[in-house]
Structure formats: C-alpha cells, structure tokens
C-alpha cells in the first residue's frame, strides 16, 4: 500500500502548500454566473466571460465565474457569489432574470448586471445589457437568402424566450426583405414571427439535438441553417462538416464562431455577433470608476454592440455585389430607412 501512502503524503503536501499561500487581495473583483451550457460553449457564455477576461487584462482586477448546471442553480450560485466579496456580479441570461431580481432586492448594496434582461421598472443596483440582435440577424437573413441554392433556409432556437427569438425574427425579416427587393421566394423554416412558433430544442446544451434539428431542416430542403441555442449549434456544425458545405452551411450566433470553433471554421457562412464581451467590459469599467447606476445598455448595429462577423472561408465565394448590398442594408438600418420587422 505504499502507493496510497504516497498519495496521502501528496495531499498533505498540498495542504501545507496552501497554508503557505497568502490570499492575494485584489483591488476589484468581477464575478459572473453563467447560464447552462457551460463557460466553454463557443458562444453565449464564453463571449460574456471574455468581457471579464478582457477587463482582467486591461486593468489589474480579479475575475471569477460559476457555471450553472441547471436552472435550479441560479439562486444558489448567486448566493455563493454574494458571500464572495464581488464588486460586481454579472449574470448571463434571460432565464436568470427572476433570480437576479430577488438577489438584487435582498442585497441593495451589491452591484449587479444582467445580460439579456431589461427590468421595467429598473432596479437601482442592476444594470441590464440587451442587444438589438434582430438587426444583425437581419443582415444574416439577407445574406442567407442571397446564398441559398435551394431557396430554403432554416433556423431553430434553444428555448422560446425573447433573446433567442430576436435572432430568429431578424433572420426571418432579412430573408423577406431580400425577397421583396429581388422578387424571389426564399422560404424560412423553423420560425414564424407572427404566431411566435417555431423549432426549439428545449435546452441549451445538447449537441445531439443540434445535429438532429439541422438534419431535419436539411431534409426539408434548407441548405443554410442558423441555430440559436448556444453550444447546441456545435452539433449542427458537426453535421455540416460531414455533409460538406455545398449541401449545408451554418450561420453562427453570439461570437464569431470561426474563432471559437476553429476546427469547424469552414462551415460558418458568417456569425451574428452579439458583443456581450464589450458591454460586460463596459459595465465593469463603470463599476470600477463609480459611474455605475441601474438601468439599461442597448447594443445596436450603430454602436457595434451587434453585427456580422467576417465571412471566413466564404470570403471569396460570396459575390461582391451581395456584400455591397449587405453594407447598404446595414447603413439603411442604422439611419432608419430600413425597418427590421414588418
């Protein structure tokens, strides 16, 4: 049993080492609670966490995160951070709205910020971060309509909540706008903004669902699919990789997925950016400079809080004409001459 003795000795050593470490008290601590799907989801949570990481690089602050494994973890996770001497707690996700509100009201001295939720009326110690993702997705819809060979494109979501369906709305209306301009009849599967009904996986973590939903859409003729479900979309990208991008292309969401999912970079036509990283960094700066107050930050095309990622592997195959049209549409949305929505 010398083997085990060695292990015991090692654990003892670790404990001894620990006793020697002095807790380095950093001036400022930013804490984050992720939504389900994990901190390394190549999209939603990861982008928000990048905001904290950027802030850590820019100034000497400490960053901590806590992953939610289920919706039931939100409150418990918030509680453990409230005890953790966080200068600001950033919660990531619409579903955390209730838990964040409760925690903020119970701890009025603690600063909170939440991604994807706007309180009405606002809470004095909570700063909401929301994004006009429909604007970015509108451009993606226009692009998809222009690139589709089959005349059918598709989308599906994680859960039927506003921050998810905003993407799907924009995508849908972008395609309609293309049809209107070009007299084409490109069809959108998976989402109907009028009835608010569509395809939803019901979760933000099953890669298998991502694969299955993309496969179903492809069987119905879609050759471009935009999954709006965090890491679920990685399953769709896997399928596109196997089938080849001639039969299926993917539009990423949240982050530039050619960067966050580099192995499958070639399947992403583009990504609809939701720059949670920049707003999170902004909020941390505000908290550090004492300019923090409750309210709302809105990311738009105009302030680059949302946008379209570079075309990556498709840079050369997208006609210059279409690229120019997209720039024009973007300018139109910014100056208000093009309305996102019907």
């Amino acid at each position: 049993m010398t083997f085990l003795n060695k292990i015991t000795a090692r654990t003892g050593l670790a404990a001894a080492l620990l006793a020697g470490t002095v807790m380095t008290a950093s001036a400022f601590t930013a804490c984050q609670v992720t939504d389900t799907g994990g901190i390394d989801d190549a999209g939603f949570n990861q982008t928000a966490w990048k905001g904290v990481q950027d802030a850590m690089e820019a100034s000497d602050i400490e960053g901590r995160f806590l992953e939610s494994q289920a919706e039931t973890d939100y409150e418990a996770n918030l509680n453990s951070l409230i005890e953790g001497n966080c200068d600001i707690i950033v919660t990531v996700g619409f579903l955390m709205g209730d838990a964040t509100k409760a925690a903020a009201e119970a701890n009025p001295e603690q600063k909170f910020s939440i991604v994807d939720f706007a309180y009405d009326p606002t809470i004095p110690n909570v700063l909401g971060q929301v994004y006009a993702t429909d604007q970015g997705a509108f451009l993606a819809g226009y692009l998809a309509a222009g690139m589709s060979q089959t005349g059918v494109v598709g989308t599906f979501g994680g859960i039927n909540i506003p921050p998810v369906t905003a993407f799907m709305d924009g995508f849908y209306y972008g395609v309609q706008y293309y049809n209107e301009q070009k007299g084409t009849d490109v069809m959108v599967l998976g989402w109907n903004p009028e009835s608010s009904e569509g395809l939803f996986t019901g979760n933000f973590d099953s890669l298998d669902d991502g694969r299955a939903f993309a496969e179903n859409l492809h069987q119905e003729g879609a050759d471009i699919v935009m999954p709006v479900a965090g890491p679920v979309g990685l399953g769709s990208a896997q399928l596109a990789d196997e089938m080849g991008t001639d039969s299926l292309k993917i539009i990423g969401v949240d982050a530039d997925q050619t960067q966050t999912d580099p192995e499958k970079a070639h399947v992403y036509l583009t990504s609809v950016l939701k720059r949670m990283d920049s707003t999170v960094t902004q909020v941390i700066d505000m908290a550090m400079n004492d300019t923090f107050e409750g309210g709302l930050i809105v990311g738009t095309l105009e302030n680059e809080g949302v946008g379209l990622a570079p075309y990556g592997a498709f840079e050369d195959s997208i006609p210059e004409e279409l690229k120019a049209e997209i720039e024009a549409v973007k300018a139109g949305i910014i100056d208000g001459s093009i309305q996102v929505g019907m």
Partner: protein, 383 residues
C-alpha cells in the same frame, strides 16, 4: 465515574448496543466502514484526476479547503448544504424503502417532477387559503401525485410483470415531455411568457425560510422539518409496522412472503406508491421552499442523485439522512470550489460517481483497505 469496572460495563453495553443495531461486525463493516472508505477513496481519486488534468498542487489543496469551507465552514455553508440535502433525503427515503421491498425504482426523477408540478398548480389555484391549510395541502397534493405516478409502474409490475426498472425509466422520459407540454398550457404558464415556465407559488403555500432573521440570503427552509419527520416515519414504517415487515419480507424472499399469506401485488403497488409519495414530496418541498415555480428540468437530476444517496445510506433511513447531507455538502462545497479555486464543478459529479462505484464494489474497498476489516475466514468459522 468512581472506579474501573464502570468503564468495562459501559464498553460491554456499547458492544451490546452495536450488536443490536448492526447485527454483527460484518454488517457494521458494510453499513459504516465501506461507505466511509468509499468517500475517502473517491476524494483521493478526485485529487488524482485534478492532477491528471494539469491542476497544480496548491490549487488542489485550495479546492479541498474550499470544498470543506463551502459545505460546513460557515452558517451559510450549512444552510446551503442542508437546503440541498432536503430533496435528496426525501427522494432517497422513498428509493431506499423500495429497495427494501425488492423494487429497483429508477423513477424518482419523474415522480419528483410530477409531484413538484402538482404542488405548484395546487399552490396557485388554491391561493387565498390561510397558510396553515394551504401549505400542508400543497405538500400533500405533491406527495399524492408522486405516489400515483409511481403506482403506475407498481401496477404494471403487479398485473403484467413489467419490470419496474424499465417502466420507471420510461415514465421518467414521459414526465419530461409531459412537463414541457403542461408548462405551456395557458392554465399553468405564466402570463406574458412564451417559454415553458409556470406561475409563481403564492407566499401562503411557500415553506418559510427559517434563518432569514439572521441573514436574508440564508435559504434553509422549513422543509428540513418535513425531512426529519419523513426519516422518523420511514424508520417506524420499515421496522415497527406490519406493512413495513411485509415490505422487507417480500424484498428478502418474495416466495416466502407469498406463502406467508402476504398479497404480493398489493405490496408492490403500495411500496411503489409510498416511494413515489416521498419523491413527490421532495419535488413539492423543492418548489415551495426553494424555486417558487416550475420550469423544464427543475428536478435537476435530484431523482438520480437520490438513488446514489439511498445506496450510500444502505437503504436505512438514518443512513440515508447522513448520505443525503453528505451529497448536499458536496453540492454546496462544489460551488465554493469553483468560485475560489476555479476548479470545475463537474469534478463533484465525478466524486459522487466514484463514491457509488466503491459502494457498489465493497470487495474493492476491502482490497484497498485490508486493515479496516476483519478477516473473512473467521466469519466462515463462526457460521
């Protein structure tokens, strides 16, 4: 305290007591030493896994300290540990009771979901009642629906011989989708939301938080009394009541129980129903004490963790109580581990799984810790 012989007598009595509760050294080893060693070995393996995944030694040390501090190191840590253990113990009691009756019920997850949802619905539809009636009624309805849902599997086994492992797993799957669907019905869905989420449980049906006078963030709620009462009740039921004797008899030897005139079909349905009631109660305490509403997957795997709790507690109510608190501690401590050491909370899942592997393989534990156990050969001599 005056002389030596007293101590001898105390020792004698202790031994007698021990013999009565554990029926001999071998049982004592199985009930106490094996689980204890299993936990220790699992923690050591957890450290090895951290090493293998390139976590450095100080961080490993820090994560174990965080695990301890986050689970028992402060009042709020205890509050979180006990809060997490309430549904685990309740569902674990039901499963343990089933195991005693020879039923391997995998369906606590589904029973918990159905019971919890029923409690939420009872909560908001019966709003207006005084809490003294509203709260107990809400919990009772949760337990009842859990019992009915579990009784389906019991009924299928009793009438058609359908194995409860299969049918309860299938009933779990059905419950997930049923919940998704029910949460979208206008009657249950919260106004103004398009995603599946229920209306809130009104305050009169909520289990009150019992430590909020110290700090509003302490989540421990009155469900702990429900849990303790359930432990006492299940103990009484299993070891002091006639029906409990019937459960255990049919678990030990169904044929003998049958010859003794016990109605096997009735016992199966009743045992499943009781197990389901406890799982449903677990769901009900969770929604009325912690969550305040139902959302998809609000069970969060408690029904499956409870299987581990029941196994670790050796299907004994008191054992399940301690096992449940241990698992609650791992959950609460795991969060602290991630916050202050940055070690993924997934490691807790691995440690829990390892504990179960070692529990399920007592021979392995005996082989690793030979000095903790009496030699087996002597036992043969005894017999």
């Amino acid at each position: 305290m005056s002389s030596g012989p007293d101590l001898k007598e105390v020792n004698e009595r202790m031994r007698g007591l021990m013999a009565r509760t554990t029926h001999g050294r071998d049982d004592f080893e199985d009930l106490v030493i094996v689980p204890l060693f299993a936990v220790v070995v699992a923690l050591i393996f957890g450290a090895l896994i951290m090493l293998a995944t390139a976590v450095d030694l100080p961080t490993i040390g820090r994560s174990f300290v965080a695990l301890a501090v986050g689970s028992v190191g402060s009042l709020s840590a205890w509050s979180e540990t006990l809060t997490a253990s309430i549904p685990l113990v309740l569902a674990g009691l039901g499963l343990g009771l089933g195991f005693r009756a020879g039923l391997f019920n995998i369906g606590a997850e589904g029973q918990l979901l159905m019971g919890g949802l029923a409690a939420v619905v009872a909560g908001f539809t019966l709003a207006g009642l005084p809490w003294i009636i509203h709260l107990p009624l809400t919990l009772l309805i949760g337990a009842l629906v859990g019992a009915l849902y579990a009784a389906i599997a019991g009924f299928l086994k009793a009438t058609t011989g359908a194995h409860e492992v299969i049918s309860t797993i299938m009933l779990n799957l059905i419950s997930y989708r049923l919940l998704d669907w029910l949460l979208r019905q206008p009657f249950i869905q919260r106004e103004g939301r398009s995603d599946p989420i229920s209306k809130d449980v009104p305050p009169s049906a909520e289990l009150p938080r019992i430590l909020d006078f110290i700090d509003v963030n302490l989540r421990l709620h009155a469900g702990i009394f429900v849990m303790l009462a359930a432990v006492a009740f299940v103990y009484w039921m299993l070891f002091r009541s006639k029906i409990g004797f019937a459960f255990r008899a049919s678990g030990e030897n169904p044929d003998a129980a049958n010859y003794a005139g016990m109605n096997a079909a009735f016992i199966i349905v009743l045992a499943m129903g009781t197990a389901g009631a406890l799982a449903g109660l677990a769901g009900a305490t969770q929604v009325t004490g912690v969550l305040g509403r139902a959302s998809p997957g609000f069970s969060a795997g408690i029904g499956f963790d409870a299987i581990a709790v029941a196994l670790l507690g050796r299907s004994h109510p008191v054992g399940i109580l301690f096992a449940g608190i241990l698992f609650g501690a791992l959950e609460a401590g795991g969060r602290q581990m991630q916050v202050s050491a940055g070690v993924s909370i997934d490691l807790i899942g691995i440690i829990q799984a390892l504990i179960i592997i070692f529990i399920a393989a007592p021979l392995l534990v005996r082989a690793i810790f030979p000095w903790g156990f009496r030699k087996r050969t002597k036992r043969v001599g005894d017999a």
